[in-house]
């Protein structure tokens, strides 16, 4: 109890509060700029943390990353450019809502459920940290293989078009992920002698290309759509309570999945969003509405990516294993500030731990007022004529891609993937599946190859380890589910026809 009071005292200091506020605003702005991910926002903060007290330093990272993950939804919703990869899973859905004139509902959903997810994730961090970390620590490459396969199977679930084309798109993405030498063999593949391709294709320029640049291209190929009715931007939070009650179940499922994925090392907010969005569609009562501007998936995935953010700190704090790229940076800062990760952090420096929890909660609470202001400012985008928005988006594509590595090659990649995304979409190939393949590809190969090396080419450990057997069963179930459902539907359809002749 004393530790808790001490924790409040640590957070209540002026420099910490200012750090939280300033880094929140910073995170909101950076996250909403296309091409600048939450990871990048955090990395750019590291030099600033040199000059801060330990708690203030950690506070800047927590608040900036939480805000950036939420505000990545804003350009995704308004312009179809995901601000961060974590928003990519439901960008199309949110954009469809905007076109239906429900931008405020979509953004409010993102904001409200991000905050809920963040807070639930934090509570899980508080309650289950030691337990969850123990489970995650037993994950070996066998388990990661199944996780990655499950992730890839989301490709066909998120698509609304022909499953064959969805799988083809996903395979294209996997092929892209083969490029470079970041594969288990360390052998350069498909690089055509270009040094820029050695490191492989970064997901961010690809994302910006297929989502944002292709949108600019489409704008040039079509006439001005009828202008959106000039109406007052409605209340952002209105209707959120109704959604919360209506989609209570998806919300909790999103939270739980986000927490689980966040705890797993290496799997972060973007994967949480993908899996949750796919789950949401699978278990929805109205799956046919997905993709047409339906808030249900947004509720689940929006909660999920923010929940994963908090739980990603569990392995980071306990074992110094990053749950995602953001916590990888955070671990560096923790060491630098003498808050060395490890079980002792929870016992000997409990007050610092409480302070950390309090900062998480605080950041997710002030996210709501700050987020509303941000949305109000960003909403002006909707009223501006297309001829003034599209050129700016094009420049943001170029600059955002360049900023990922200060490399002109990324700008070319955006152009390339813009063309790929544009052509694919015109021909009914879902681009989301492509992106999924690019993001997950290396994990599938890495986990498969390393598993075989470790097991001396035996396939047995893929199914006889306790956790991997469960994951294998889930994968098999998910594979067989559509087949079974199809058979059932067929039987149901055939029965009446059989009865008719009589």
């Amino acid at each position: 109890m004393n530790d808790l009071i001490e924790g409040f005292r640590l957070v209540g200091q002026m420099d910490v509060l200012i750090a939280i506020l300033a880094s929140s605003i910073y995170g909101l702005v950076v996250g909403s700029l296309p091409g600048l991910s939450a990871t990048m926002a955090t990395a750019l903060l590291v030099p600033v943390t040199f000059y801060l007290s330990p708690i203030a330093a950690v506070a800047t990272i927590i608040s900036a990353s939480a805000m950036a993950i939420f505000s990545g939804d804003i350009p995704g919703c308004l312009l179809r450019i995901p601000g961060t990869p974590a928003s990519a899973a439901y960008t199309d859905e949110a954009y469809a809502m905007t076109r239906k004139g429900q931008a405020e509902l979509a953004l409010g959903t993102g904001l409200w459920f991000s905050a809920v997810g963040g807070i639930v994730g934090t509570l899980s961090l508080v309650i289950m940290a030691p337990l969850l970390a123990e489970v995650a620590l037993n994950f070996s490459s066998y388990e990661y293989f199944w996780l990655a396969v499950l992730g890839l199977m989301c490709a066909t679930l998120v698509a609304r078009s022909s499953p064959v084309k969805a799988i083809a798109s996903m395979l294209l993405g996997l092929l892209v992920s083969c490029i470079g030498m970041e594969n288990p063999a360390g052998a350069p593949r498909f690089t055509f002698g270009m040094a820029d391709l050695l490191g492989g294709i970064e997901p961010l320029p690809a994302l910006v290309g297929v989502f944002a640049l292709s949108e600019v291209m489409r704008a040039l190929a079509t006439f001005d759509p009828p202008p959106l009715p000039r109406r007052k931007f409605g209340s952002i939070m209105a209707g959120q309570w109704k959604l919360t009650k209506q989609y209570q179940w998806p919300m909790w499922r999103g939270n739980v999945i986000g927490i689980i994925i966040g705890v797993l090392p290496g799997a972060g907010a973007d994967m949480a969003a993908w899996v949750s969005y796919a789950m949401s569609k699978r278990f929805s009562k109205t799956p046919e509405k997905f993709g047409t501007g339906h808030p249900e998936g947004l509720v689940e995935a929006g909660a999920s990516n923010n929940a994963s953010l908090a739980s990603g700190w569990v392995p980071a704090l306990l074992f110094g294993i990053p749950g995602d790229t953001i916590t990888a940076i955070a671990i560096g800062v923790l060491y630098m500030k003498g808050l060395n990760p490890g079980p002792t952090l929870f016992t000997e420096r409990a007050s610092s731990m409480y302070a950390l929890y309090i900062i998480f909660i605080l950041a997710n609470i002030i996210m709501i007022p700050l987020g509303i202001i941000m949305i109000r400012l960003a909403a002006h985008v909707l009223r501006a004529p297309r001829a003034s928005i599209m050129p700016i988006i094009l420049m943001l594509c170029a600059v955002g891609a360049f900023a990922t590595g200060n490399n002109m090659f990324s700008v070319l990649l955006v152009g390339f993937f813009g063309v790929v995304g544009y052509v694919m979409e015109r021909n009914g190939y879902p681009v989301a599946a492509l992106v999924l393949g690019i993001v997950m590809g290396s994990m599938v190969e890495q986990s498969f190859v390393t598993s075989l090396i470790k097991s001396d080419n035996s396939l047995l450990p893929f199914i006889d380890r306790p956790i991997s057997s469960v994951l294998a069963a889930i994968t098999a179930g998910a594979l067989l589910w559509p087949v079974g459902a199809w058979l059932l539907r067929r039987r149901a359809r055939n029965r009446p026809t059989l009865q008719r002749p009589a």
């Binding site: 064959v164 083969c178 190929a221 001829a387 021909n427």
Partner: protein
């Protein structure tokens, strides 16, 4: 660019074949029985399979029609502009232009050119396009160079502040 399933399917078959061929050129790696060629080979074969299915138009029935928002009653359906398909390739070409000249010309003039071209192509008046071409690059450069320290090329015309 609307192509028939025949064309895209054939392209996928060719791409799959290429990746299988490319994978077969990979040397083995000591200590790894599953070498760097296995994964691209599987993907390549998958692409060939999917491409063939698409060629034969399997699964076509699942495809949802393109999600066009139906025009409201009494609204004129606009015709697509002339050369619509070709115009779509202006943005990627502008990005190539950017990578070629930005280092030498600098971010501000390059960006201004690009903004101007896209704005005019979208039918903006000169009164809108010109101020936009001046102000938008300045704003973007300020945010990215000054606040985020992204080293955008100065070239002939560095940021005035």
């Amino acid at each position: 660019m609307q192509l028939s399933d025949r064309v895209t399917g054939a392209f996928l078959v060719a791409l799959g074949g290429f990746s299988v061929y490319g994978a077969s050129l990979q040397p083995g790696v000591p200590g790894q029985d599953v070498g760097p060629s296995v994964f691209p080979t599987i993907i390549g074969l998958g692409l060939v399979g999917c491409g063939a299915l698409i060629l034969l138009r399997v699964g076509h029935s699942f495809e949802a029609p393109e999600d066009v928002i139906p025009p409201a009653a009494g609204e004129a359906v606009p015709q697509p502009p002339r050369f619509a398909e070709l115009r779509a390739f202006i943005p990627p070409l502008l990005l190539v232009f950017y990578t070629l000249v930005a280092d030498w010309l600098g971010f501000l003039p390059t960006a201004a050119t690009m903004v101007l071209v896209v704005a005019l192509a979208l039918g903006a008046s000169w009164r809108l396009a010109l101020p936009l071409a001046v102000l938008a690059p300045l704003g973007i450069a300020t945010i990215f160079m000054k606040l985020l320290r992204v080293p955008l090329p100065d070239g002939l015309l560095p940021l005035p502040w």
